[in-house]
Subunit: 254 residues, 2 copies
Amino acid sequence: MNIITTGMLKKERHAFIIRQINLHNKVLSSDLGLQLQVSEDTVRRDLNELAESGKIIKVHGGALSKSFHFPYEQKDVYAQDSKKEVARKAIGLISEGMTVLTGGGTTMLEMARLVPDDLEATFFTISPVVALELAEKKLLTVNLIGGTLNKNAQVNMGAKTISDLSEIGVDLCFLGTNGIDLKEGITDSEWEVLQVKKAMIKASARIAIMCISEKLNSVKKMKVCSLSTIDYLITDLSPTDPKLRPYEGNTKII
Amino acid sequence: MNIITTGMLKKERHAFIIRQINLHNKVLSSDLGLQLQVSEDTVRRDLNELAESGKIIKVHGGALSKSFHFPYEQKDVYAQDSKKEVARKAIGLISEGMTVLTGGGTTMLEMARLVPDDLEATFFTISPVVALELAEKKLLTVNLIGGTLNKNAQVNMGAKTISDLSEIGVDLCFLGTNGIDLKEGITDSEWEVLQVKKAMIKASARIAIMCISEKLNSVKKMKVCSLSTIDYLITDLSPTDPKLRPYEGNTKII
DNA sequence: CTTTATTTTGCGTTATCATGCAGTATTGAT
DNA sequence: ATCAATACTGCATGATAACGCAAAATAAAG
């Protein structure tokens, strides 16, 4: 257990830390300092870097494995400000009496929370989490599209979901995305997700993509749709931000 | 049950507390103090933080599960033990590879929590809350029946739900009920609920009614089905309890 | 092989956080 | 109304973190 180490390079320390975390689900800065024979400052800097790139979760006193299993109710705790900003803007697109379709994810959940109490509208969603949040608003009609619950994404997927989506028609669809790029348009890395998104797009008169700025200009494996399909692009940036300029066209930047 | 823990990070304590609450529906600050080896002050501060972010409901002496805080009931913490007992017994009816259909409500939720991690089975449910809880179990396939989310009961209802239910066939259906009586059988007070329950019964080879003993011998306005339809009656009482004697017949008392 | 630039690291300082304790207030049950 | 259990407040203490800077190590260039 006691690993003696001398003159390790930063990369090696990082690897060591990741290994320790995978092994124990947690590490203490103080322990690492001793094991790696470096100051705790260095350890803390290492942990910061690893946390920055999303490999671990840094907490006071050390760090936790990212797969640290939290019960579902708190998976969404870390809704970053950028997501909140996107959600806030998205709400502006919804007007009285509208029929809206949404996916899942933290940004959508945040949007559900921000729906004003006096809005009367009809929502369809594939996300039970979003549905439950929307159900808090007294004037909304909330329809949950059924299907097989995907454990990671916590949204319904599969054949049933897609066939049910083909039976509805809505005014506006809010979609999150991991990949958005000028040339490739909207892309995704999971095939199942791709199918569902395509079905959602077909079901909707207008499409709004919600996307935090750090995901701009990234391409994933498979294409969902081209940019021309998108009616609104909602980001945390100002609509006049130069980074968004290339996306102007058919798409309204919000 | 006495879990020994040393040098836990705050986040770990939080996760531990959430797990305990999910397990028992309630925690006492005093217990947590001992289990986590910290002062009750620290426990209380932890509980405050968790309550602050809406993950639990803090009460005098400890905290309660949030999803336990269903719109309808919440009176006494200890009456819930009977539901737990019903849920525990219900689990016994589920065997490997089975296809199961469930409704919503606290007893169902409790059952979902108690499903063993190593059970491989397929679940259908009309409750997003139950679905999300079931999704925590790695080996389960969870299918959520769509529909219009009823804000009070937090289950899907309406025409879509009923037509979807008509398309499936399962081995066993777990139903809660407010009214059960020798002569009238299973009764309910809401028309919408009635329709859904009937559809669930039609979809299932066998029917299990889950019912805490205080609801025995009560009649509601509308009839769901007669007692002869019921295969299992699960209560918090011993199967040999004289109160249950009258219900013996086609129905197996558990 | 120097010399120079860049990065990394450790240390002192200051700020922040976490925790337990003592005293006081509040609660809930009888 | 009383009493014991539970909660909250403020504070002291030790732990951890952040900041800035200078020494050391590493890489790059001449």
